[in-house]
Every structure is written in structure tokens, then in C-alpha cells.
Symmetry: C2
Subunit: 172 residues, 2 copies
């Protein structure tokens, strides 16, 4: 039975966090095209498409973080992001395409945005503690993009999409 | 092969969201005692313990929402929360008890807080759209508790715990 050497330094926690974020973004690059394909509202389709492009840039930023730390980019398997993607697939299967699915895709995407806000928030705070200032700036740039993406989705839901979903069957 | 009747009304989406939140809180009531047990820092232990009590109240609030809507409380299985809990268990297994684990337990808890902020944010917005004002107020009360819990954990990490984690092996 191999002994597990437990992590105990902030450096180790931080590298593990970067590897987790690298895995998360990789899963999202695979999942976002399905969100684009399933969205009906034109603005929502565009929001998902532009977030896909942002996600690709966020991957490059993570690669730059690894490079600044003189580490090779590596992934570590994160269960939560796989669960988030599975739940979004459940929604696609169980909700009718159109306003109802659009409203629920926004909800699913905002789960992911908030999840990432927490992840990048922690990573940026740890980079800061370790005085890796350039790395902290890269992580903070992504953090702000995720916050902006979340706000954009809230605005779209509240100004438009939620109101297009019939409340009850009788209103169709 | 049974045909799936797809959801298309906001009422259906909203009830499903409540059932998902009910499942999420139930998973958390089971997971939080492990966080309390694994935390070393006294303030963190207390923060987790008091959040466990809050979570129990949030479950009661969800039951009140179901009752106001004249529905029986029901759960629907959410994969994401199971993934979040699995990732937290990974952390407990791979990080040494003490400041390093405390810092990482905070990170794991903040993932969950943010995930819940997104969930209650959507639920409150949908309740609002449907003019279920009493239900919206209950969901908003929980939303604010989750936001406060997240901020408390950030303050604890940044004011104290992150600085107690040795940066590199040499500093132990």
C-alpha cells in the first residue's frame, strides 16, 4: 500500500489549484459549443459563443502562469465540473428548446461562472500571498471576465428571457 | 422506450430548481460535520459549525417555499453537489491537517457558497418573475446568508489562515 505524501505548503496547494483550473477550463471548452447549439435567443447564442472564445484565452493565461512558475501545464481531474456539465446535459434533455431552455441554460452557465469565480478568487489570493504578482494579475484578469460574464447573463435573463417563458401551460 | 415530456413553463423550471436546492442542502448537512471535524483553526471550526446550523434553517425555508406553493417537498438528484463534496474529500485525503488543510477547506467551502449563490440567485429571480413574493423573500434571505458566509471565509483566509501556511518546505 503506497503511502500518500500529504501536501503542506502553499506552493503545493497553489500548483494543485492551477492544475484544477486548467482541467475545468478544458472541460468547458468541450461543453460550451453544446450550449451555443442549444440556445435559441440570438443574444444568448452570441454570449455563449463569445464566452467560448474568452475561455480559450483563459486557458492560455493559465499556461502563462505555469510558465512564469517554471512548471509544465498539467491537469488534475475535478469532479465538480463534470457534475456541473452532467446537470446541464440533464437540462438539455428535459427542457423544451426555446425560451424555457434558454432560461435554464443561463441558470446552468451561472452555476459554472460562480464556481469559477470562487476558484479564481482563491487562486488569485494565494498568488498574492506568495507575491507572485504577475501570476496574480493574470488570474485576476480571468476573475473579472467571469464576473462580467455572470452579470451579462443576469441582465439578459432579467431584461428579456425570463419574461418570454410561459408561466403555466394555459398561457402558451 | 418511454417518451420524455419536456418541461416548458417557468412554473416547472422553478419547482425543479427548488427540488435541486433541497437536494443540495441535504447533501451539505451531511458533508459539513466532516468539515467541522477536519478544521484546526478555532474560528474556522466555529464558522463551519454555525454554517451547518444555518443550512438546517435553509432547509426549513425551502420546505416553507414548497408549502406556500402547495407542493410536497421533493428532491431531485444533483450531480454537481456530489462532485463538489468528492473534491472536498480529495482535499481532506491529500492535504496535511493544520493550516494547509484549513486554507484548502476554505477554498472548497467557497466553491460551494458560490455555487449556492448562483442557485438561489436564479430561484429568487424566477420567483420574482412569477410574483411569488413571499417565496422570493425566503429565497433572498438564504441568498444573503450564503453571500455573508462567503465573505466571512474570505476575511478569515486573508486576515489569518493563508499567512500561517508555510510557502515552501524550507520554511517549516
Amino acid at each position: 500500500m503506497p503511502l500518500v505524501t500529504k501536501m503542506k505548503t502553499l506552493h503545493e496547494l497553489f500548483l494543485t489549484k492551477l492544475m484544477a483550473l486548467y482541467d475545468i477550463e478544458d472541460q468547458l471548452v468541450k461543453a460550451l459549443p453544446k450550449m451555443v447549439a442549444q440556445a435559441t435567443n440570438r443574444d444568448l447564442k452570441e454570449a455563449f459563443a463569445s464566452h467560448l472564445e474568452e475561455t480559450k484565452m483563459q486557458i492560455e493565461r493559465l499556461e502563462e502562469c505555469f510558465s512564469l512558475l517554471k512548471e509544465k501545464p498539467k491537469k488534475i481531474k475535478v469532479e465538480a465540473i463534470r457534475g456541473l456539465v452532467k446537470d446541464a446535459q440533464w437540462v438539455i434533455k428535459h427542457v423544451q428548446k426555446g425560451p424555457a431552455l434558454d432560461a435554464n441554460l443561463i441558470a446552468a452557465a451561472q452555476y459554472v461562472e460562480h464556481y469559477e469565480i470562487a476558484g479564481y478568487g482563491t487562486a488569485a489570493a494565494w498568488a498574492d500571498s506568495m507575491e507572485h504578482m504577475e501570476v496574480a494579475d493574470l488570474l485576476t484578469a480571468t476573475l473579472h471576465e467571469e464576473q462580467a460574464a455572470d452579470e451579462k447573463l443576469s441582465a439578459l435573463a432579467e431584461s428579456k428571457i425570463n419574461d418570454e417563458v410561459p408561466m403555466h401551460d394555459s398561457e402558451e
